[in-house]
């Protein structure tokens, strides 16, 4: 329900539990108060200045692979069904 965006941790200040995250060339300070054992290099979901949790690279790959696979099954049908119109 809420705007959140994945960003990579590039620096952690253990004393304050504040991290610098990076996203497409933008750096931002976020609080790590809500996550355990975040490390530099981890991707975290950022929401209202807090890291909500870590993202799993492995799971993301799996999901993408699954999407590709789901799509491939139907590639033949693509040209006919690409713009099925919905209720435009």
């Amino acid at each position: 329900m809420c705007l959140a965006i994945p960003a990579r941790i590039v620096e952690i200040d253990a004393a304050t539990d504040i991290a610098q995250v990076s996203l497409g060339g933008v750096r931002k300070e976020v609080s790590l108060a809500l996550v355990n054992d975040a490390r530099v290099g981890d991707y975290v979901l950022i929401h209202v200045g807090y890291a909500l949790n870590k993202l799993s690279e492995e799971e993301a790959e799996k999901t993408l692979a699954l999407i590709r696979e789901m799509g491939l099954l139907e590639e033949e049908a693509t040209h006919n069904a690409a713009t099925p119109g919905g209720e435009a």
Binding site: V35, I67, E75
Partner: protein, 378 residues
């Protein structure tokens, strides 16, 4: 942007669209409610509905914290700001939501109330530290995603001895609302064949709390990410469950959502908050166990107790269909005010304000909104 761009890929989208079109049974209806306003926003922003077959329709749920906030709560916040002359801090989303008497936080601010838009509860802490002579009230709203940052601020205020900070708590709980929607679904209410489960709420609470949906209401749930491919994949997963006669909680958003959720955040919430017996939701009425209040241990930080106000009777704008829209039984275009009297500049209901509100989405991204074209359903 990693984890973002991959999930907005046009080619994969086309392929998924074909897959859905191919697998959807033309003989049946797929009425899928996206519970979250975030999903509503993504569906419109990326034009996902256009990629679906005609018999697959997204029904917009009540999962927008701005939309479901009763007008009385805004009236109450404005009264606090004006009568007790507090510094009221809140997220930008709330600024333009209509309150009684054609007011809003934005207008109250223009009229002299000290209302500040903040980006993070860290700002609230900073303001309270920098202005010790001001009483700072955080007007907290949001589902489980936005609740832990409030908890962090409350704990910090206590730890630092910030006696000038308090919280006007309006955090609400997803499962209760979902249960209400499902309980009232059916021939007289909204007809639902499946649920797209929340993304970020689920990162916090995990996938377990949705177990009651298939168990008690025989409706499949797929927890879905917010990127358009996430939505499409989850849609396909729902189509498959329905086609195969399955009825389960599935998790499409595995890169962020686990079964148990964020235990640290959950513990924090449990410490700082307690469940209210009942709380009013716009459109859904008073729902049991559907919202949080500050725990007894933190009652001294409760703005409702510190700054009591009385507000007049609340009259909803006549003709505004937000309640029905939030229950999924009407669409924005069913509202007579949509696009005539009610626009984002002059919103009559919260659904026209929040970027996750169905009316705002229809208005901002819908192709036809002029009177002549209103009959169409976008």
């Amino acid at each position: 942007m990693k984890y973002v761009d991959e999930f907005r890929d046009q080619k994969l989208a086309r392929q998924l669209a074909s897959a859905i079109a191919a697998e959807a049974d033309p003989a049946r209806q797929y009425r899928l409610m996206e519970f979250c306003g975030g999903h509503t926003h993504a569906i419109f922003r990326y034009g996902v509905q256009h990629l679906m077959p005609p018999n697959l329709r997204f029904i917009h749920g009540p999962g927008c914290p701005v939309c479901v906030l009763p007008m009385a709560r805004i009236d109450q916040a404005i009264a606090m700001a004006l009568e007790h002359e507090v510094t009221l801090c809140t997220y930008g989303d709330l600024m333009r939501v209509p309150a009684s008497g054609r007011r809003s936080l934005l207008k109250a601010k223009a009229d002299g109330a000290d209302i500040r838009m903040i980006y993070s509860t860290l700002d609230v802490l900073r303001i309270a530290r920098e202005e010790p002579d001001r009483q700072v009230v955080f007007f907290a709203i949001g589902f489980e995603t936005t609740t832990p940052p409030t908890a962090v601020a409350i704990k910090a205020a206590r730890a630092e001895g910030l006696t000038n900070l308090s919280v006007f708590c309006n955090h609400v709980l997803t499962p209760s609302a979902l249960r209400t929607i499902l309980a009232t679904a059916g021939p007289d209410g909204v007809q639902l064949d499946g649920i797209l489960g929340p993304s970020h709420v689920s990162t916090l609470i995990g996938s377990k709390p949705y177990a009651f949906v298939p168990e008690e209401f025989q409706t499949p749930v797929v927890i879905a990410g917010f990127e358009p491919l996430d939505v499409m994949q989850a849609t396909l997963m729902l189509v498959r469950q329905l086609n195969e006669g399955r009825c389960e909680v599935e998790n499409q958003y595995t890169r962020a959502v686990t079964e148990a959720g964020n235990l640290k955040a959950q513990a924090l919430m449990a410490e700082v908050f307690q469940t209210r017996d009942r709380f009013e939701w716009r459109g859904l009425g008073f729902l049991p166990e559907s919202a949080l209040a500050l725990a007894d241990d933190y009652a001294d930080l409760d703005a409702e107790q510190r700054f009591p106000v009385e507000i007049g009777e609340v009259k909803e704008v006549k003709g505004c269909e937000c309640p029905a829209i939030l229950r999924g039984v009407k669409q924005p275009t069913d509202c007579k005010l949509f696009g005539s009297v009610c626009t984002p500049e002059n919103p009559m209901g919260s659904c026209m304000v929040s970027s996750e509100g169905a009316c705002a989405a229809y208005w901002s991204y819908g192709r036809h909104r002029a009177p002549a074209a209103q009959a169409e359903t976008v």
